[in-house]
């Protein structure tokens, strides 16, 4: 299934075993040398985040495995297949920060089981807390995740407080995505040169992606950074179709010729990779209906705290639905989408606006077809998942 593009298997098959101890400065130095970026969505430099942390018994380490975007599978796959590597990374960071407080926040039941078992299997993880939750999309946002761990409602707070100042229980907290911790464990074992032996210069190493829809092999893959996106999307040059980069807070694009799987380059191109979802629609499904379905899902994921998001996202979803059925103008939708960014406690309205705005600018032919005929004649095949995630298929 996966012979068509070059995958590597570093994270998903990493041998268990505690990586050598590194102090905070060493770990910061390593992360700096390989330009490690957080793998949750924001892509923040890990070295900067780690260097800002105080040390001591009160410090908290939070491993965010809440992965609540239905299209994303990479975090649960990693936790199910390599739970010890995730724990290695978490304990490595905890030791470097002179603390034993580690909390892993998990959404997926299979991942919860794997991690709980892994904690019991080792002698150095007795203080690791695995917290399972069933929250929605924005509950995965790091400050919402912290509140959830603290037993408060899992919604982003109104004031911008950074976790390294006040996180779990009000203590300074190093919080990052599960894949970030696994990458740190690998980095510590391999050293900077070994880690950077594969991948691009701008972001060495590998990255996990979730491939969705009409792609070379749907499911979770680990690829070297710098891989041309075209390698994952065969036939795109002769039959260009809308490609979604960065999941449901990401962007649609149809010309991918110059794009590579690498966070800095994609960000520069205005196409942030976010949590690593890459999707392409087939020619058999109604692309506009797929967009309407995701827009409706995004509207339903508003925590309901912020008016512009709570009222704006459903209105935008209704506008998109009207286009699907032949509304002649995109003016209402354009105006409402333009008002979303920057008007919420978290980036949910910003991300949703990005998804919808780029969908309409990429799918002009589809929108025109619907404007003229009220339909494109293709059925909605639900290629973009909006419900509970299906069973994991992965690349190992």
């Amino acid at each position: 299934m996966l012979e068509t593009h070059p995958t590597v298997s570093r994270l998903l098959t990493a041998p268990a075993g505690t990586p050598r101890h590194r102090n905070q400065d060493e770990l910061v130095g390593l992360a700096q040398q390989v330009r490690l970026l957080g793998r949750g969505g924001a892509g923040f430099p890990v070295a900067t985040k780690l260097a800002a942390m105080p040390r001591g018994r009160a410090v908290q380490v939070l491993v965010n495995g809440s992965e609540s975007e239905p299209a994303s599978q990479k975090d649960r796959t990693l936790m199910r297949q390599a739970p010890h590597l995730v724990l290695d990374g978490a304990l490595l960071v905890a030791r470097a920060l002179d603390t034993r407080h580690v909390t892993v926040l998990v959404h997926d039941p299979g991942a919860t089981d794997a991690l709980t078992r892994a904690v019991r299997e080792r002698s150095d993880a007795s203080r690791v807390r695995v917290v399972a939750h069933a929250g929605g999309f924005v509950s995965g946002e790091v400050r919402a995740a912290i509140r959830l761990v603290d037993g408060a409602p899992a919604v982003p707070p109104g004031r911008r407080v950074l976790p390294h100042e006040s996180g779990v229980g009000g203590a300074p907290t190093f919080a990052s995505n599960v894949e970030t911790f696994a990458q740190l464990a690998l980095l510590s074992s391999l050293g900077a040169d070994g880690y950077a032996a594969i991948g691009s210069a701008a972001e060495p190493g590998t990255t996990l992606l979730t491939l969705v829809g009409d792609v070379s092999g749907p499911g979770v893959v680990e690829v070297p950074t710098g891989l041309p996106l075209a390698a994952l999307l065969p036939g795109q040059d002769t039959d260009p179709r809308p490609v979604l980069i960065g999941g449901y807070h990401g962007s649609w694009v149809s010309d991918i010729r110059d794009l590579r799987v690498e966070r800095p380059g994609l960000r520069e191109a205005g196409l942030p990779l976010n949590a690593g979802v890459v999707a392409r629609l087939s020619n058999d499904t109604c692309a506009l209906a797929e967009v309407v379905a995701v827009s409706t899902w995004l509207a339903g994921q508003s925590a309901g705290q912020c008016g512009p998001c709570f009222f704006g996202l459903p209105a935008v979803a209704r506008d998109a639905y009207a286009l699907l059925h032949g509304r002649p103008s995109t003016a209402d939708l354009d105006r409402r989408v333009a008002q979303l960014p920057g008007r919420g406690a978290c980036a949910h309205p910003d991300g949703a606006a990005m998804f919808i705005r780029t969908a309409l600018t990429t799918m002009t032919a589809e929108v025109e077809e619907h404007r003229r005929h009220g339909t494109c004649g293709r059925p909605w095949l639900q290629e973009l998942p909006t419900g509970p995630a299906p069973a994991v298929r992965s690349a190992s």
């Binding site: 982003p156 109104g158 912020c306 008016g307 512009p308 998001c309 704006g312 008002q339 008007r343 406690a345």
Partner: protein
């Protein structure tokens, strides 16, 4: 100075748009739309009045 909205508190009462129309408009649901949050010296007293009048304590004037 700059005005900032705590969106989790704002209930769209709209007093800010009345007291600081130079900076604050309202969307179709009555929530503030602020295109440029920077407040020049001449507007600072008006901005302070808007901050003080917000029934939800959602508006802040912050340095920067």
């Amino acid at each position: 100075m700059r005005i900032e909205v705590d969106w989790t508190r704002c209930d769209g009462h709209g007093l800010c748009a009345r007291l600081l129309p130079e900076k604050v408009g309202l969307d179709e649901w009555g929530f503030p739309v602020i295109d440029t949050p920077e407040i020049g010296d001449d507007l600072v007293p008006h901005a302070r009045r808007a901050v003080g009048a917000c029934p939800a304590l959602a508006l802040r004037l912050v340095p920067g």
